[in-house]
Symmetry: none
Subunit: 233 residues, 2 copies
DNA sequence: ATTGATATGCGGTGAATCCCGTATAGGTTG
DNA sequence: CAACCTATACGGGATTCACCGCATATCAAT
């Protein structure tokens, strides 16, 4: 089984378009799309194989705000089968427009989430008989899930690599104390846990704030999470 | 390809133990483990096929705080191959203890994240020749990825079925104030910016902490970032 | 029409945090 | 070997935060 290697450093937008096209050709989909949000970089990025006119209409009408495939996947852990979407007004609004381009409500959206609130969604669709679709999906779902993870990983890496190079260095004590702070412990609590004075805890927090160019401890926690030094608990 | 259906409503802990055992037997792993955190319910749950004595030692020594497989996967989108873990003091601490139980640093941890800051990690390990391990993993990685998603989905459902599932709803004011707080502003600063008293700012912060089940403001900031409500600045 | 919940606003007080200092030990560099 | 830097440790006092109250307005349910 030939997995598409997407984790390579330095992947560019052209690469993503190529990756999606290869997904489309390999599995026989009409279209494939990847939409991702990067909170750290403050960007939303999308790569699609849809026709240019549909893309334009989608943007002009801001259909991403109503797209039930994205909204439902945003609240799901598992892949979302479009057949299970509720037939709401938003559903009609998006798919009535899409029908003009031969895009049918038969598809799949796979959400993937990163550690800093970033989300990527890989969508695929194909206009074919229901039996054929239902026969195809179970045989490739696992591979699509894996591909979705790697597409998102690649998209995030292409943004965060340059930021990581400038990450300030925090000592193990500073990181440890920031981690406990992010977990809801007071300075006294942290002192008790680590067997040091709460004063000492304060010194390390101050030092951490300084290194992260943060004015306050909550800001230091926010930045440490963004830089992958600690994680939310 | 026989996918294990884990999304069935009402899965119980015994079911998870059985699921992990089936994963172990199907793929020939020595052990399989699933550790998940549910920020909304404020719980951490784990199901493992490890020997009882190792489980006890792991808990007694609180090794989950030092486990590099969890820490690294917590910061990753893609699956984490244990071979790539840094040989730190924490690494030695965990795997030196684990060696007494025949558990080797040859494994894989797959992180899966849900829409409300919840994270699940599926770990598998096997004590065999490196060549054998490296030959096995690529052939089943996609399927494991899919299984991890479904295990986590099932774990979350088993909690949300008993509790009302909803992302904590924060008011626009609460989110706005948390955002400014994460940006390094003091309560007085935020009050000045929004034209309200710093007391009022404190009330919204307290309300936000309550809704996010956070003990402190830094913890609320951390969770709000994890849930995609605000972002680091 | 009443009740309850939520959103938004504010004050007094004590605890916690932060800023200003202090110290020793170990490692690196000239 | 001395100087400098980093890591790690602590105290006093001022400021900020958090907890305990209070209030009005709006909306939804009964």
């Amino acid at each position: 089984m030939d997995l598409i290697d997407l984790g390579a450093a330095g992947a560019k937008p052209a690469d993503f378009d190529e990756i999606l096209d290869r997904i489309r050709q390999k599995f026989g989909f009409d279209h494939a799309a990847y939409a991702g949000s990067n909170l750290i970089a403050g960007t939303i990025h999308a790569y699609v194989t849809y026709p240019e006119q549909w893309k334009q209409l989608y943007l002009d009408e801001q259909l991403h705000l109503y797209d039930p495939t994205l909204a439902t996947a945003a609240r799901s852990i598992a892949p979302v089968h479009w057949a299970r979407l509720e037939k709401t007004q938003n559903f009609d609004r998006v798919f009535r427009n899409a029908a003009d381009f031969g895009i049918v409500p038969q598809g799949l959206t796979i959400p993937v989430r990163g550690p800093y609130g970033d989300v990527g969604m890989l969508s695929v669709t194909r206009n074919c008989k229901t039996d054929e679709w239902n026969g195809l999906i179970p045989t490739i779902l696992s591979e699509l899930q894996s591909i979705a993870v790697h597409v998102h990983d690649g998209a995030m890496r292409s943004h965060t690599l340059t930021r990581t190079l400038h990450a300030p260095h925090l000592s193990t004590r500073e990181i440890e104390i920031l981690q406990w702070t992010a977990a809801g412990k007071s300075q006294q609590d942290v002192g008790d846990i680590l067997g040091i004075s709460h004063r000492t805890v304060e010194v390390h927090l101050r030092s951490g704030r300084h290194k992260l160019y943060a004015l306050t401890t909550p800001q230091a926690v926010a930045r440490a999470i963004a830089m992958g030094m600690i994680y939310p608990l």
